[in-house]
Amino acid sequence: MKKLVYLDSCVIAKLFLLEDRSDEAIALVNDPEVVSVLTSDLSFVEVCGVFSRAAAQGRITMPQCQAFLAKFREWFLTATTHISIRLDQITMAGAAAIDLGIRGADALHLVAATSALGAAPVVDAFIFVTYDVKLAKAARDTGVFTSVVD
């Protein structure tokens, strides 16, 4: 079985920080049936932002933060299929935010994920993963994903 998995940034954060449900996130990226892990370029900014905030609050040390950023950057650039958001998708995301009643960043993730639908016919499953209940509901409402994990 060939699977595509789209990861929201809150799932990606759990791949690099040990916290609740990290084991589930790791199992997803280590699933041998997953052909590619997809995410938006927006995830890179969001995850870096969280580590910066954690360092500023003293919850990780600056050397830990810098080591993480190097490791995360390498993984993101080489091991994920990352999606650059185009101008027309920003327009679509704006419309989605209004139509679905979701936040701007959520809408950008949803539009980025659905842009992979061109490849969906050649996979057996296209899975959207987020730990955000509202975004998960919006993803289910699109009806385009084989399953939504939240």
Partner: protein
């Protein structure tokens, strides 16, 4: 057809062009000769794992997609946030509000 446009038969090439493209997609650099003279070199833009080639090629053809070249596999993380406060995932959701 334009007056200056040249057409060739498959037999004039050293290898079947379709097969050459297929080999290039598998990560092999292929030189094609025309009438015995090296004429075209196909350079793969990336290498794709065999079983997933069709999916990855579909993704690569999608505008704005930078397709992964390596496996996404990761070990369990060991770094934890210290002290009280929201988890990293919760901080991301807070930042979006």
């Amino acid at each position: 057809m334009k007056p200056d446009q040249q057409t060739y038969t498959v037999k004039e090439f050293s290898v079947n062009p379709s097969r050459a493209i297929h080999r290039a997609l598998q990560g092999v650099e292929v030189t094609i000769s025309l009438r015995g003279v090296p004429a075209v070199r196909l350079v793969p833009l990336g290498t794709f794992r065999d079983a997933s080639e069709e999916v990855l090629l579909n993704l690569a053809a999608t505008p704005g997609f930078q397709v992964a070249q390596l496996s996404p596999r990761l070990p369990m993380p060991t770094l934890q946030l210290s002290g009280p406060g929201p988890s990293a995932a919760e901080m991301i959701l807070e930042d979006r509000r």
